[in-house]
Amino acid sequence: MALAPLPSPEAALLVALGAVPGAWLRFWLVNQLEPRLPRRHWGTFAVNLAACFGLGLLIASGHHERGMAASALPLLIGTGFLGSLSTFSTLAAELEGCLRQGERRQALVLALGSLLGGLLALLAGRGLGGWGT
């Protein structure tokens, strides 16, 4: 892990400005979805897929860049908003919860569903975003 040269305050501000609505949207959507879904963890699943779809759109629009010195839109939307919208830790915690309660099948369905669903959502976003251009 090479720590890159210090980032500019403007870049950090963009990441933070994207991160707050991303986390809020995740929190709000999970709260909205979970009571309507048969199993609680499908709320996080849906939010994660939405973020993959958004990332696909961003890639198709040619605005996806990684790294410290990325330009404004990738920092705000990619690293900030979509990075915060999606969550790996809650998925892992939900998988751990399923396994702890002996629901191995549910854990497997959630893990494989997230993996395949995430890949499909990413490809769908990229395909849809590529249409107009």
């Binding site: 892990m1 090479a2 720590l3 890159a4 980032p7 950090a12 990441v15 933070a16 994207g18 991160a19 707050v20 991303g22 986390a23 809020w24 995740r26 929190f27 709000w28 709260n31 909205q32 979970e34 009571p35 309507r36 609680r40 994660n48 973020a51 993959c52 958004g54 990332l55 890639i59 990684r66 790294g67 410290m68 920092l75 690293t79 900030g80 979509l82 990075g83 915060s84 919208l85 999606s86 969550t87 790996f88 830790s89 809650t90 998925l91 892992a92 915690a93 939900e94 998988l95 751990e96 919860g97 396994l99 893990a111 997230s114 993996l115 995430g118 890949l119 959502a121 990413l122 490809l123």
Partner: protein
């Protein structure tokens, strides 16, 4: 996993969840900003993901449950520190490159994430035993 439940969810009726309270939004935002900045500064998603899994294990395993810490640290900080979309993108690229090693490492990352949650929970359990509180374990 009742311990992951934010207060507004718990208080809402089953069909009509309450809108988030300003206090909850503030806690989520206070965690989300350092989480996203740390992920960006690290420039190493697997490290950010595993760290977030360990921390969410620590918070969700704390006895008694701490809903406010869950909002700020679990949902805000860990949720923003870790990224599922970044993981899926790395996976898609490894598949595209035909890199069996890359795909295996990424799949291993999810397994390691689950283990990190488990480790966090067991550390939280040990801390709770060392400092016993009045509240009984459910």
């Amino acid at each position: 996993m009742g311990d992951m439940t934010p207060p507004s969810h718990r208080e809402g009726s089953r069909l009509a969840p309450l809108p988030p309270r300003p206090e909850e939004l503030l806690l989520v935002a206070l965690g989300a900003v350092p989480g996203a900045l740390l992920r960006w500064l690290l420039q190493a998603d697997p490290l950010a993901n595993l760290l977030g899994c360990l921390v969410i294990g620590l918070v969700s395993g704390s006895v008694p449950a701490r809903p406010r810490a869950m909002l700020m640290v679990g949902i805000g900080f860990c949720g923003s520190l870790t990224t599922f979309s970044g993981w899926i993108l790395a996976l898609e690229r490894a598949i595209g490159l035909g890199s069996a090693r890359g795909v295996s490492l990424l799949l291993l990352e999810l397994v390691a994430g689950v283990l990190a949650v488990l480790l966090g929970r067991s550390l939280a359990g040990r801390l709770a035993r060392r400092r016993p509180r009045q509240t009984l374990r459910r």
